[in-house]
């Protein structure tokens, strides 16, 4: 799986959680929390959807990796490819 494909998966998951936001202008290096108005319950939703849809576990100690799109993709890429 490529970085772009992982990014698309992540965007689709977040779009389901916060459907009213603009997903065309995400700055990958900036925090997702600020750009998309996400809170801790939303991040738990992201973790749950990764678990449900892709059997990927994100332990609590790694939650900081989901801060920006760039760090999320970097963190998830090896998990999708393992």
């Amino acid at each position: 799986m490529t970085e772009e494909e992982v990014r698309t998966i992540v965007v689709n998951i977040i779009e389901e959680i916060a459907p009213d936001e603009d997903y065309n202008n995400i700055v990958d290096e900036e925090p997702l929390r600020d750009q998309l108005g996400l809170d801790s319950m939303d991040f738990l939703d992201i973790v749950m959807e990764l678990r449900k849809q892709y059997k990927i576990e994100v332990p609590e100690s790694d939650y900081a990796e989901l801060a920006s799109m760039k760090s999320t993709v970097k963190y998830l890429l090896p998990k999708f490819n393992s």
Partner: protein, 410 residues
């Protein structure tokens, strides 16, 4: 003299419409709206459903995160606030209280979550983190506060099917106590999303069945065979009379009196004696005689036992031929559970202006035990000279009775 409490706004959603004029018109026209819908495990059942625009006052994320009861409460609250021409900023967000009556809460969300983890072989790591905020008993009222930024007191009043009336009474009490300057209160029901509610009534032999769903809800009929579950909501803006006068807002009606009591006799079967006592106490609170009531909005749900016991209680207080008229709204949309009392009252309040008593439908042959010598208004509206007082009955499981008397504001 007790503080006078008035109604300055009403917001509703019901199977007969998502605003009061539409709902009232359908009641006067005798148009019911019961559909059949498939629910997990139990199959097709008749029910009353609402079709309000959920995203009118919530964004999609709020809807996804919250509950149906929360969405119903938020919709009705906004509609009531608009009707009351209320500026939350002017009143002050901390001066507003939100008090929502509920029959039950959490069944829908729990059933959905069990169905969800069934897909994962009941592994609870797939159980949603939204479960607890969705199922806490204050959820619907709390969602209203989150949506509008209201920072005064809030709670839900669990009072079975007396909750709609109880919500209004509780709101009035909070105003009298000075706990808030505006009470947003009433009742809601999301029960049509829960198979357990239907299955419970079915096991109790109290779930209505009819080949024509619009004929399934038939209180007082000789052919009645149970309850049609409905969803709905009715939220009112209540305020102290002097505050409403200072705001210069239109006053819809005044709360004249109320009473709440308990049967303490059975989990499900009502008790005529206590119901009569509750009505008498409400009349005493309003400082009026039974013959001053112009209309009784009954609770009757269409169960053989419940309808007869309420009529017996009415006879005890008002005589075998009451001077007032009697009607029933559940015959149109079913039993809206936690919303029932508040919603049924809302449908009758326009009678203060149009002097019409909306009918009870689906009776066909009247059960002789429910006969009040022609005082039940059947099939078509009854024009009267004037309506000054409405007595609204609301009774629920575990023997909770709530009676509310509303009067025309003069």
């Amino acid at each position: 003299m007790q503080q006078r409490i008035v109604i300055t706004g009403i917001g509703v959603t019901s199977p007969l419409g998502n605003d009061l004029p539409t709902m009232r018109n359908n009641l006067l026209e005798g148009r019911s709206n019961i559909i059949e819908k498939e629910l997990r495990y139990i199959g097709k059942v008749p029910m009353g459903k609402c079709d309000f625009n959920v995203t009118k006052y919530q964004n999609r994320k709020e809807v996804r995160r919250g509950t149906r009861a929360g969405s119903i409460s938020i919709y009705c609250t906004h509609e009531a606030i608009n009707a009351a021409e209320l500026s939350i900023d002017k009143i002050g967000k901390d001066n507003i209280g939100v008090f929502v009556g509920i029959t039950e809460h959490g069944n829908v969300e729990t059933e959905n979550e069990i169905a969800n983890i069934k897909e994962f072989d009941y592994d609870v790591k797939y159980w949603t983190h939204h479960h607890n905020p969705r199922t806490v008993a204050n959820n619907p009222a709390g969602e209203v506060c989150l949506n509008l930024g209201i920072t005064g007191p809030h709670c839900c009043i669990g009072a079975a099917c007396a909750a709609g009336n109880y919500g209004l009474i509780y709101g009035a009490q909070q105003l009298i106590l000075g706990e808030c300057n505006i009470a947003i209160c009433g009742g809601v029901s999301e029960s049509t999303e829960s198979f357990g509610i239907f299955a419970g009534f079915k096991s109790q032999n109290a779930l209505a069945e009819n080949p024509d769903p619009n004929k399934a809800s038939r209180p007082f009929s000789k052919d009645r065979n149970g309850i049609v579950v409905a969803e709905g909501g009715a939220i009112y803006i209540l305020e102290r009379l002097e505050d409403a006068l200072e705001r210069g807002v239109n006053i819809i009606a005044e709360l004249a009196g109320w009473a709440i009591n308990t049967d303490a006799t059975d989990f499900v079967l009502p008790n005529s004696e206590r119901q009569a006592e509750c009505m008498r106490r409400a009349l005493k609170h309003a400082a009026i005689q039974p013959q001053e009531i112009d209309l009784i909005s009954t609770h009757a749900t269409g169960t053989p036992e419940g309808d007869v016991r309420e009529i017996a209680a009415i006879k005890e207080v008002f005589g075998t031929t009451p001077t007032c008229y009697i009607n029933n709204s559940k015959s149109f949309w079913g039993h809206a559970m936690g919303a029932a009392g508040a919603l049924e009252l809302a449908g009758n309040i326009p009678a203060f202006n149009d002097n019409l008593v909306h009918p009870t439908i689906n009776i066909g042959e009247l059960d002789p035990e429910c006969d009040l010598n022609g005082k039940i208004v059947i099939d078509s509206p009854c024009k009267v000279e004037e309506i000054n007082y409405i007595l609204n009955n609301s009774f629920g499981m575990l023997g909770i009775n709530a009676v509310l008397i509303i009067k025309k504001y003069k």
